[in-house]
């Protein structure tokens, strides 16, 4: 067991390193000179070079890379090229917001997806199964931003009401949490479909297996059988998907954040990409990637707990 954990951890390290390389290179592949962007519609030749030197962008790439890696080790992620605010400060302000939204959305997706998936599996190919699956797929087929715009705009026109604007946790904890309800619902409904289908699929397969039939034959009530034995095993792949969902939600919430005015990572990232703010792009990417690698790691370790047969 310990060996497994160690091995898993070791494997994560090269992944992170490779990720850091990708994180560093990707934004620089984008054409468009950030210095010229900063000088917008006016660029005197000498000004460009001076600004470039001031920002340290004229050094060879590998020097910049190692400089960046060095500062990471020391716990700093650099400054935004534009606002000169430290990247880490901005991230610590925004990350909790996106994570909260993600957690809420994931909770919604589980709360909707798992029970419906269970129901659909136990009544496979019945009317309930059909309706459940259709509704779930329909849920993810409607682009989230359409719902978001309708929810924002129509009540304002009809009744003069809009969803609440952002308020920080420290100022108003209840209000802060409440504002996530609508956006989390919209995000969660789309994710719920995947969870539902997976739960149903896994449960179906597990239900067919011998040990379940044995338990049923022993006379235990159906519900107990399902919940105790089948669900535990069925949850293994669901946990995998959850890991992937978190990643998806972290990135996919941009549009929802945009429409509901939630200051999360998504908006921050899009702006940074458009403005070629390399330190910010790198910082965000690195944090997200690390988070996801850690999430996957936890998921893998969770497997080891759930199913002793699984080893890498």
């Amino acid at each position: 067991m310990r060996v497994y954990i160690l091995r898993r951890l070791l494997v994560a390290v090269p992944s992170l390193l490779i990720a850091s390389l990708i994180v560093f290179t990707l934004p620089r592949l984008i054409p468009g000179d950030v210095v010229q962007l900063m000088l917008e519609e006016k660029a005197y030749g000498k000004d460009l070079e001076d600004l470039r030197a001031k920002l340290g962008l004229n050094r060879p790439l590998y020097v910049q890379y190692f400089d960046w890696m060095g500062s990471i080790v020391r716990g700093r992620l650099g400054e935004s090229l534009w606002t000169r605010q430290p990247v880490l400060t901005e991230l610590t302000r925004r990350l909790p917001v996106t994570v909260t939204l993600g957690i809420f959305a994931t909770l919604v997706s589980i709360a909707i997806g798992v029970p419906i998936g269970v129901l659909a599996a136990t009544r496979q190919d019945g009317a309930l199964d059909f309706f459940a699956r259709s509704a779930a797929i329909l849920g993810l087929s409607v682009p989230g931003f359409v719902l978001a715009i309708l929810v924002t705009l129509l009540p304002a026109i009809w009744w003069g009401w809009t969803p609440p604007r952002f308020v920080a946790f420290t100022k108003d904890p209840a209000g802060h949490l409440l504002q996530f309800v609508l956006p989390a619902l919209i995000l969660g409904v789309a994710a719920a479909a995947a969870i539902m289908r997976l739960t149903r699929g896994m449960l179906l397969e597990v239900l067919r297996q011998d040990y379940v039939r044995t338990a049923a034959a022993k006379g235990l009530r159906e519900r107990v059988v399902v919940l105790k034995h089948a669900l535990k095993n069925a949850l293994i792949p669901v946990v995998t998907v959850l890991g992937l969902q978190v990643a998806g939600i972290a990135g996919g919430s941009v549009i929802i954040e945009w429409i509901f005015g939630i200051p999360g990572m998504g908006q921050f990232l899009v702006d940074a990409i458009v403005q070629r703010d390399y330190p910010v792009i790198q910082g965000i990417n690195l944090i997200i990637v690390t988070l996801i690698v850690l999430t996957n790691l936890s998921v893998d370790l969770l497997y080891a707990v759930l199913d002793p047969r699984i080893r890498y």
Binding site: V11, P14, S15, L16, I18, A19, I22, L26, P27, L29, I30, P31, G32, F130, R133, S134, I137, L138, L140, S141, V142, P143, F145, V146, I149, L150, L153, L154, I157, R197, L198, G201, M202, E205, I236, P237, T240, V241, L244, A247, G248, G251, G252, V254, I255, G266, L269, V270, I273, V274, I281, I284, N285, I288, V289, I292, V293, N296, Y303, I310
Partner: protein, 309 residues
């Protein structure tokens, strides 16, 4: 010579029969009966393909043609889905949009599948250090949220249809390669392939003739689900400004472009492309689901990796 020799009734299975229409129809009907939802999905997909192929014949107007004097008209007998703020027929644009969606969808999935298959199969088959190295890169790649990858790629490549296809393919290939690898691993371990090796078949032959056909089912399912995701992704990208550039009538652009501005005043501009998106995604997913159910037992891969679809 009717009665000269008693012809033995030859069991049909031992003869190689040409694939004939009646048997194909029978397969489809059986499928429809067992999986009605999947059949509905199939019908939707078929309609889509027809709309895409015969757009020129089906659509009464071209997608960029303004009909003077008919700005923002609600749906009517003449304009089934109304007209937009540039006096263009929405129904025509939706039909041509099918072509765009189908093109983007199928091209992306085809390219992604190709990349994923090459990476996944080779990684599983060759194994060893190659496998470990490749998987680390795939790991790193998968860890990136889709948005980051897509935005960076689109910003790097610039707007345009081929670039969009390339970017979406790269995005989809990583995750898919993992699933395919898992599937390949289980196929390789089977006695079927062992047998092939035993009779001395070369590597390429084994891969092409033994491995691929069995992995094909997984690939197929991934593809149908992927098609739905690509269409959704395109509409999200249009919202952010990285989708298919005008004047091409992609549904996503119609929905998140002017359709969004006029959502309250001329809702049909957004409603119909939105419904088209939903219907298409619904159809692809239903079809994919049904296919998975049908092909299920033979393709259970090694535990977690295949379950992550």
């Amino acid at each position: 010579m009717a009665n000269s020799v008693e012809t033995l009734p030859v069991p049909p299975q031992t003869l190689s029969r040409p694939w004939s229409v009646p048997s194909a129809v029978r397969v489809v009907l059986t499928f429809a009966r067992r999986k009605p939802l999947g059949a509905v999905g199939g019908v939707i997909v078929l309609t889509l393909l027809i709309m895409a192929t015969f757009a020129g014949q089906i659509a009464p107007h071209s997608y960029e043609q303004s009909v003077p004097g008919h700005r923002m008209k609600p749906p009517s007998a003449k304009f089934w889905m109304g007209t937009d703020n540039l006096s263009r027929d929405v129904w025509s644009r939706v039909v041509y949009g099918a072509r765009i969606s189908v093109t983007v969808g199928f091209a992306t999935v085809a390219l992604a599948t190709l990349m994923a298959t090459v990476v996944g199969v080779s990684s599983a088959y060759l194994g060893g250090a190659y496998d470990i190295a490749v998987q680390r890169v795939v790991d790193a790649w998968i860890s990136f949220p889709a948005l980051v990858v897509i935005l960076s790629l689109m910003a790097a490549l610039g707007p345009g249809l081929p670039n969009l296809i390339l970017a979406l393919s790269i995005l989809g290939a990583a995750g898919a390669s993992r699933v395919i690898r898992g599937s390949t691993l289980s196929v390789i371990a089977s006695p079927y392939v062992e047998g092939g090796r035993a009779i001395g078949a070369g590597h390429l032959r084994i891969v092409l003739l033994y491995v691929l056909p069995n992995v094909l089912g997984t690939i197929f399912i991934l593809a149908t689900i992927g098609l739905g995701q690509v269409i959704l992704a395109e509409s999200a990208l249009s919202f952010l400004g990285f989708g298919i550039p005008p004047p091409f009538p992609s549904w996503g652009a119609m929905l998140s472009g002017s359709g969004r501005s006029f959502m309250y005043h001329a809702p049909w501009m957004a409603l119909f492309p939105g419904a088209a998106i939903s219907l298409a995604v619904f159809g692809f997913n239903m079809l994919g689901d049904a296919l998975r159910d049908v092909l299920d037992p033979r393709l259970r891969g090694s535990g977690r990796s295949s379950a992550s679809t």
